[in-house]
């Protein structure tokens, strides 16, 4: 639930999702679910020359299992709270 919780706070922010196939997509986060599937709006590829087909997309649904990284805006994360939240994780208690 931890990352789900974190992503819930990022709804509406612009993120860059990097997939396992090296495709990097930028968009505003619309929603996330328990499997960390991500829905993005106003999608654009970070490198459009390499991935021209993304130009036709307006929004996308990305399955959670194919995501490698999600680049977040630093201002949207409260690091102290994040540390506390990790301490609260069931495994760490």
């Amino acid at each position: 639930m931890f990352f789900y919780s974190v992503f819930k706070t990022l709804v509406g922010k612009t993120v860059v999702v990097e997939l396992k196939n090296d495709l990097a997509i930028q968009g505003t986060l619309v929603s996330v679910d328990q499997y960390l599937n991500i829905k993005l709006d106003h999608v654009s590829a970070v490198d459009p020359a390499r991935y021209p087909h993304v130009a036709t997309l307006k929004n996308s649904f990305i399955r959670g299992s194919v995501v490698r990284y999600v680049h977040l805006p630093a201002s949207a994360i409260d690091t102290a709270l994040l540390q506390d939240a990790t301490r609260n994780e069931p495994g760490n208690r």
Binding site: S5, T9, Q34
Partner: protein, 905 residues
């Protein structure tokens, strides 16, 4: 002939004139010739080559490409089912074309259809001929039959129009072939009347073939758009085509007489006001006439009403045409013409109508395309019932709902409460409809969730859900307990720390790894306790909060009362606090936990939260502990690092070599963290402390510590300043009688050492070192902020990120920080305030050189500023330094009642 679907000739008597026998159809054009006897296919009329018209012959319709497009949604081009044979009569007595088997299914509107087996299939089929049996299936034909029957039943009163232009387009079928499209050639023979009873199409009563239907529908739409049926008197319900439709002969009966039904509104011989020769422009086969109620019919007025709906749902059927009318009149509404209008005017009007008709046709096409696309998209709607969808949603939600959101969903809950719930209303909007639709409309979302949670707790659930009909299983557990992918082994702990259990020996060497680890461990333990206590504080039971359950003696569950809840809560809280305090005061070996915790930056960050939680008496004890061990703090112990780094030659004999830049940076970071996190709560504490507390603090400080050592560190000086000034304030309000003695003691101890408090004046070669070593931007930011307090406002402060990349600029910042002597002067000022005159004199005497130096620097600052090259970091630094020196020394001088301007350097 007209042996119909019903098995008998269902034509109206008036139509049952002896029909023209169907001649042999052009080869390949007619699927079911009815060279047949009467009694075969009811569409026999279509077999008549004269009844058949090529699709492409329809004038004004664009050629193939558009047809392709239209035919792409071949299940229902224009919403009309494709032409079919007699309902139920699959074979129709005619050899089927091979393509028919793989023809797409036709269906009544809205039911799923199959796509064509190959592209262009439609086109092939349609291109064959109008009269052909094209595509059908049993279902469709049955449905259509039903439809037809219904229509016929309701429409039987409508006039029966003889088959029209198709019949009259006799040369067309024979001459034209699928390949040879004759665009718009006048096809009909004026004056020729189709056999009565033969509609333009094969249906009994003359239903139309595809093109006719299409044209008819289009024109109906256009017409409906254009004009509401103006009245039955006019042939207005007649839709019109884009091109001047050819209706075949005008309503001139074979005998040359004007057909009664087609009297124009003003008695003109042409119902549309068109001279006969204009008819030549009308494409054949527009069975418009079937929609035109003859004006003279007694029932005429009410025909204005049926046509609109007829147009929509009556494709296979048509209203009959007035008997003996011959080819139906024109397609488009009668233009506003009078017999007296000149031909030119009439032509103009007709052209306008053509243009309009064309536009409307295009719009109709677009609309048709859009509708067809919508139909395709919704072809597979309705596969899951609402209940099934809700079930899936419920499963997902049941995996998500948590009994304790603060524990599981901690980050989101706290974050949103900190930021004022920016997203909660969105989620609240989303969540309730989902659950409510599942039949749990009662109660709020929270209650529903609680119910789910309670049920979940009661029944031990299987770890996997498998739904009927679903592939695979849904694993229930992994959401909360995700499988650990990385194995971080805890077995690589430092062997030295695992030696003893009861006596933990913590190495006191401050920079050793074990020491650091111990510090981190202590900090983590405290962190956990702090978080627990904070959570408890946040969840204090109130009147509305949820009650936990407790077992009674009977074995039942019962909810606790508020009092019980509060009681248990308080017990938990006290336990936690005691544990916390125990951890804080339990020495690990010979290291005080306070010192230990504060030796890592994590601990420094934790400190304010910790202090906030403690009860006042505990907070006091903590502060005392801090003061008593002050010189063991890392910030104090390493205070000589900068000097060591900058000028190692001044410290001969020191065994340790010059510290690395890393160590220096670390020290600076630690100092800043201390100043930022630890000092403010301490200041608060002291500022509110009564004299006895201050006195104890001072005593502890002086007794246990080497004040000189403290003074050499920035942190120590700050602490001392705090205490001294507070004591002085208390003294001035007559509360601190013992202060002067204490001050004497302090002064005596410090005397002669003030000069040692001053930091170095410059740090050489810093830029070179930094070129090889990255400085974290965060540190730079901190340093900037720290020095900003003492530098004059208005000096430009570049962004830390930019600084981190520029070694020279970074070096300047660090230099500024390290040479900042503001805390010394502040301390001196505090001392001066508390000091007597002699002591002040002594103070000044001691630091005279520094005073003079600063003043001189300050006075030279003006000159330096003038000489400074803008943009040059080094010179800018010098200017800044100079100005700052002046400012700082004034802190002290003002405390003495002096000012820098009084001193001549």
């Amino acid at each position: 002939m007209a042996s119909s679907f019903f098995g008998f000739d269902s034509r109206l008597p008036r139509d049952r004139a002896p029909s023209l026998t169907a001649t042999t159809a052009a080869p390949g054009r007619i699927a079911s010739p009815n060279h047949s006897a009467p009694g075969t296919a009811p569409w026999a009329g279509a077999a008549d080559p004269r009844n058949v018209i090529s699709f492409h012959e329809l004038e004004g319709l664009p050629a193939a490409p558009v047809e392709d497009d239209r035919l792409a949604h071949h299940d229902m081009p224009f919403g009309l089912p494709l032409h079919r044979t007699a309902p139920g009569n699959l074979s129709g007595g005619a050899p089927r074309t091979p393509r028919r088997e793989d023809a797409p299914a036709m269906a009544p509107w809205g039911t799923p259809t199959r796509p064509p087996a190959f592209p262009g299939q439609q086109e092939h089929i349609l291109a064959d001929s109008m009269g052909q049996v094209s595509l059908e299936q049993d279902a469709f034909s049955k449905a259509l039959g039903r439809l037809e029957a219904a229509r016929r039943a309701s429409q039987s009163h409508l006039p029966h129009y003889p088959p029209s232009p198709l019949a009259s387009a006799s040369p067309a079928p024979t001459t034209s072939s699928p390949a040879a499209q004759q665009p718009g050639a006048p096809q009909f023979v004026p004056g020729r009347t189709p056999p009565p009873g033969m509609g333009p199409g094969p249906y009994p009563g003359g239903a139309m073939s595809l093109a006719e239907l299409e044209a008819q529908l289009m024109q109906q739409r256009q017409h409906q758009q254009q004009q509401p049926p103006p009245g039955a008197a006019r042939s207005s319900p007649l839709p019109h085509t884009s091109a001047p439709p050819m209706m075949g002969a005008p309503a001139i009966s074979p005998d040359g007489q004007l057909l009664p039904g087609l009297a124009g509104p003003d008695g003109s011989p042409f119902p549309m006001g068109m001279p006969p020769h204009m008819m030549g422009m009308m494409p054949p086969g527009m069975g418009m006439g079937m929609m035109m109620p003859p004006p003279h019919f007694p029932g005429a007025p009410h025909f204005a009403v049926p046509p609109p709906h007829m147009a929509r749902d009556m494709p296979p059927h048509f209203a009959g045409m007035p008997p003996g009318m011959g080819p139906p009149p024109m397609m488009f509404p009668p233009p506003d013409v009078h017999p007296s209008m000149s031909l030119d005017e009439v032509e103009r009007v007709m052209l306008e109508q053509q243009v309009q008709a064309r536009m409307q046709q295009q719009m109709a096409m677009k609309r048709a395309r859009r509708d067809a696309r919508m139909r395709e998209l919704s072809k597979y709607n309705g596969i899951m019932t609402q209940y099934e969808k809700d079930q899936i949603a419920r499963i997902q939600i049941s995996q998500l709902v948590t009994a304790d959101p603060m524990k599981e969903d901690f980050y989101y809950q706290v974050y949103s409460s900190l930021r004022g719930n920016p997203t909660t209303e969105a989620s609240a909007k989303r969540a309730p409809p989902l659950l409510q639709r599942g039949g749990r409309g009662g109660g709020s979302l929270q209650d529903q969730i609680q119910r789910i949670v309670q049920n979940a707790k009661k029944r031990p659930k299987a770890t996997q859900i498998s739904l009927e009909g679903a592939l695979g299983t849904i694993s229930r557990k992994t959401v909360k307990n995700p499988r650990q992918i990385l194995q971080v082994s805890a077995g690589t702990a430092n062997p030295t720390s695992a030696t003893s259990t009861n006596l933990r020996v913590v190495p006191t060497a401050p920079s050793s790894k074990a020491h650091r680890k111990a510090a981190l461990k202590a900090a983590e333990a405290l962190y956990q306790l702090v978080i627990d206590i904070e959570n408890l504080n946040r969840n204090q039971p109130t009147a509305e909060s949820k009650r936990s359950l407790v077992m009674t003696e009977d074995g039942d569950e019962r909810a606790m009362t508020l009092a019980e809840e509060l009681e248990s809560w308080e017990r938990e809280l006290t336990t936690a606090m005691d544990t916390l305090w125990g951890r804080l005061r339990q020495p690990d070996g010979d290291v005080d936990p306070v010192v230990l915790v504060l030796s890592c930056s994590k601990g420094k960050k934790l400190w304010p939260r910790l202090v906030r939680l403690l009860a006042p008496h505990h907070a006091t004890m903590l502060a005392l502990a801090l003061f008593s061990h002050a010189q063991l703090l890392d910030v104090v112990q390493h205070s000589s690092l900068p000097a060591l780094y900058a000028a190692p030659q001044l410290f001969p004999g020191l065994a340790s070599s010059r510290p690395s830049i890393d160590a220096l940076l670390e020290f600076m970071d630690a100092t800043e963290q201390f100043m930022h996190h630890v000092v403010p709560p301490l200041v608060h504490f002291i500022a509110d402390a009564p004299w006895n507390v201050v006195q104890s603090c001072l005593e502890v400080l002086l007794d246990r510590n080497d004040v000189v050592r403290l003074g050499a560190s920035r942190a120590g000086l700050v602490v001392l300043t705090m205490l001294v000034s507070r004591a002085e304030i208390l003294h001035q309000t007559q509360l601190a009688d013992a202060w002067p003695d204490m001050f004497q003691r302090l002064f005596a101890e410090l005397q002669g050492h003030y000069l040692a408090f001053f930091p170095l004046t410059n740090v050489p070669n810093l830029a070179d070192e930094l070129a090889r070593h990255a400085v974290p931007a965060a540190l730079l930011l901190q340093l900037q902020q720290a020095t900003a307090a003492s530098t004059r406002a208005g000096t430009p402060t570049p962004a830390p990120e930019a600084l981190a990349k520029d070694p020279a600029a970074a070096a300047a910042v660090i230099d500024l920080y390290l040479t900042d002597d503001v805390h010394v002067w502040q301390f001196l000022a505090a001392m001066a305030v508390a000091a007597g005159v002699d002591q002040q004199y002594a103070l000044v005497a001691e630091v005279r050189d520094r005073i003079v130096g600063n003043v001189a620097a300050g006075q030279a600052a003006a000159a330096a500023a003038a000489a400074a090259v803008p943009g040059d970091v080094a010179s800018a630094t010098l200017v800044e330094k100079a100005e700052r020196s002046l400012h700082n020394v004034n802190l002290f001088l003002h405390a003495l009642g002096l000012d820098a301007s009084q001193i001549q350097a």
